[in-house]
């Protein structure tokens, strides 16, 4: 990778925070991560490992212990807060609730580094604000109060604010934390589009791994046993996702690309059928702890058809109208 193609570079970084009266707590050490323009990066790791601390350090909110952070080729320590504000914007997990604040005014705060001493918006600033609002799909919401829009819309407004700040780097701390599934996908998609179209470097932390695996260009994984950076697919192949969890009950299915609960199977079942009824019957039985088998002799068999499920146990048959009825009977 060419040097000028790196927007963010963390070298031998060690982060943590000072504790009054105690030794400083080092949460993450020896971090070596990079991100290029146009790249969307997801920082993942288990709860409490220090993702937020790392992002807050990267955003220059707190000092670090050792190592170096380079942003657009400059050392973060050498930059003045006003310069940083033109290079990096930040979206936090905090749900902003300010009465009487319109979406337009909120997004216009992004122009702060560019406006005069009383924050007057020039016509150019206004068009940047309108463009940012349009970009995140909130056109027509300009005069709505931020209290009267949904969580998903508010998160998009916060992203529009970061967009209006017009920085090559955007950092987001769990931008999808309290959103419903469709909003989660929309936010990821929006950020992906921004990264590609505007050549921005987007770094976000997330717990929505299933979405992150499909949408981001690069993963930064932090675990107790070391750190990883690279394409999500490489991470899977190298077994990093299974390493992430200290928990022995959760595993990562490397074929399906999904996480699952490890459980003890209660019985073997063979399922026949086709199409969607077959797929969802398999899932239901799997969820209830039945092992799906093909070759070996099963304890019982299920035939799944559209709107009817047939259970065959040692010669006797029984019909059901729904998966729910079938599962209830099996209990």
């Amino acid at each position: 990778m060419k040097r000028e193609n790196i927007n963010i570079e963390l070298k031998q970084l060690s982060v943590g925070y000072a504790q009054p009266g105690e030794a400083p707590l080092e949460v993450l050490k020896n971090i070596n991560f990079t991100a290029a323009p146009g790249e969307m990066v997801a920082l993942i790791g288990s709860n409490g490992i220090g993702k937020s601390t790392l992002l807050r350090t990267l955003a220059a909110f707190q000092p670090w212990f050792a190592g170096n952070i380079q942003i657009s080729g400059k050392g973060l320590k050498t930059l003045h807060p006003k310069e940083i504000a033109r290079i990096m914007s930040f979206v936090s997990t905090e749900n902003i609730r300010v009465p009487n604040l319109s979406v337009f005014d909120l997004v216009a705060y992004g122009r702060f580094p560019y406006t005069n001493w009383i924050g007057m918006l020039a016509n150019e600033d206004k068009s940047v604000v309108y463009e940012a609002i349009e970009k995140v799909g909130l056109g027509g919401f300009e005069q709505r109060s931020v209290m009267q829009i949904s969580d998903g819309e508010r998160q998009r407004a916060m992203i529009a604010r970061a967009l209006a700040q017009d920085t090559p780097v955007i950092i987001l701390d769990e931008p999808t934390a309290y959103l419903d599934v469709s909003n989660k996908y929309e936010i990821f998609h929006l950020l992906q589009v921004l990264a590609v179209e505007k050549k921005k470097t987007i770094v976000l932390s997330t717990h929505d791994l299933n979405i992150a695996l499909r949408e981001v260009d690069k993963l930064w994984i932090v675990t107790e046993n070391g750190n990883y950076q690279g394409a999500p697919e490489d991470a899977v192949l190298q077994g990093w996702l299974n390493q992430m969890f200290r928990n022995e009950h959760v595993g990562f299915d490397e074929k399906e690309g999904e996480f699952f609960f490890k459980k003890n199977f209660r019985a073997k079942v063979k399922v026949e059928g086709e199409g969607l009824p077959l797929i969802w019957t398999l899932r239901a039985l799997n969820r209830k702890g039945y092992q799906i088998v093909m070759q070996v002799e099963p304890d019982f068999r299920v035939v799944a058809k559209e709107n009817s499920w047939k259970l065959i146990i040692s010669g006797t048959e029984k019909e059901f109208e729904s998966i729910y009825q079938l599962l209830t009977f099996l209990e």
Partner: protein
């Protein structure tokens, strides 16, 4: 959408115009009304030295009512503005000018002076130099607290720590003052209690010469920080990410608040309620979170509310006056209750 914004700007202008008219009306009414009824014509004539009006009328209007009305204006503006700053910086709707412990500092100064030292040797000084010495000790008290706050705020990162320190400091001072009260004699006690009730009338013309520049300086500092106040609404993380130097900005805002609230407390006593209520009233009237509108709005509205309180406190046509502190509370609390009931969103900043 641009049209909508133009309409909004026009209505903001209209509200400011109406408030301006209200301000002029109340200011004139405050000059006209009082324990002695002076004909309207005589009040106006009093402003012209060559005009023929009785000397006593002229003295009442120029030496008593005018300084008092001006003090009301400065008091209302200063307390409301410092209340707005504190509510924004602490992101707490219950914050007011005194959360940092400014009035506690002033109270401690006055209590030590009136209840402590003066009982032994300084009572003569107290009575001869009058209100000047009270104002000076109160100012010294709030100034010391201000230095303490600025020292701590330049070192502490977490804003909540400051809020808690302010509350604890206020409680500690209240305890010390209680002890002083317990050991002081009746006349001292009365002098102190009267100071705590607040008074606009005790401010003399010469004191106004000190009060006015101090308040003007505080307002000037607040105007410098309008832009920062706006982004403080989003919290300090966002403010920092937008390039605000948090500690510098905080020190300037606290300096402004200390100047405003400290000066008023020194000269008029700890006048309550205005600082918390007026910012909320302005948010309801203007329906905005923009400090470019809110800062001038609280200055104007605060002055109007204080002028009105002053008119009510002197019970037009009667010989006695009510303590201003009781009036501000009795006028304001129903307003606040009405607003809570009508507009529940009022409870958060």
């Amino acid at each position: 959408m641009n049209l909508l914004q133009k309409n909004k700007n026009r209505s903001v202008g209209l509200v400011f115009f109406l408030l301006g008219v209200l301000f002029v009306v109340f200011f004139i009414a405050d000059l006209l009304l009082g324990s002695i009824i002076i004909p309207v014509k005589q009040v106006f004539l009093a402003f012209f030295p060559s005009s023929e009006t009785s000397e006593s009328f002229r003295t009442i209007v120029l030496d008593f009512r005018l300084p008092k009305a001006l003090t009301a204006v400065f008091t209302g503006a200063a307390l409301s503005l410092s209340g707005l700053q504190m509510q924004t910086v602490f992101r707490n709707p219950l914050a007011g000018p005194y959360v940092l412990g400014i009035s506690a500092g002033a109270t401690l100064g006055v209590a030590l002076f009136v209840l402590g030292f003066s009982s032994a040797f300084a009572f003569g000084i107290f009575s001869s130099t009058g209100a000047w010495s009270l104002a000076l000790v109160a100012w010294a008290g709030s100034f010391l607290v201000m230095l303490l706050i600025l020292y701590v705020s330049a070192r502490v990162n977490d804003i909540m720590t400051l809020l808690i320190l302010g509350i604890l400091f206020t409680s500690a001072v209240t305890a010390v003052v209680s002890i002083l009260q317990y050991f002081s004699n009746e006349s001292m006690l009365k002098a102190f209690v009267i100071w705590t009730m607040g008074s606009l009338g005790s401010v003399t013309k010469s004191q106004l010469m000190v009060l006015a520049p101090a308040i003007t300086a505080g307002i000037f500092l607040a105007f410098l920080k309008i832009k920062d106040l706006n982004v403080f609404l989003l919290g300090e993380d966002y403010a920092r990410s937008l390039g605000v130097s948090i500690k510098t900005s905080r020190v300037i805002i606290f300096l402004s608040t200390s100047l405003l609230a400290g000066t008023i407390t020194a000269f008029c006593g700890p006048i309550g309620f205005i600082g918390i209520a007026v910012p909320h009233i302005c948010r309801v009237i203007f329906k905005t979170a923009n400090h470019l509108v809110l800062v001038p709005a609280v200055i104007l509205t605060g002055s109007i509310v204080m002028l009105f309180s002053d008119i009510v406190s002197q019970l037009p046509g009667m010989q006695t006056t009510l303590p201003i502190n009781s009036v501000t509370a009795l006028i304001g609390i129903p307003v606040i209750i009405w607003m809570i009931v009508k507009n529940r969103k009022f409870v958060s900043v």
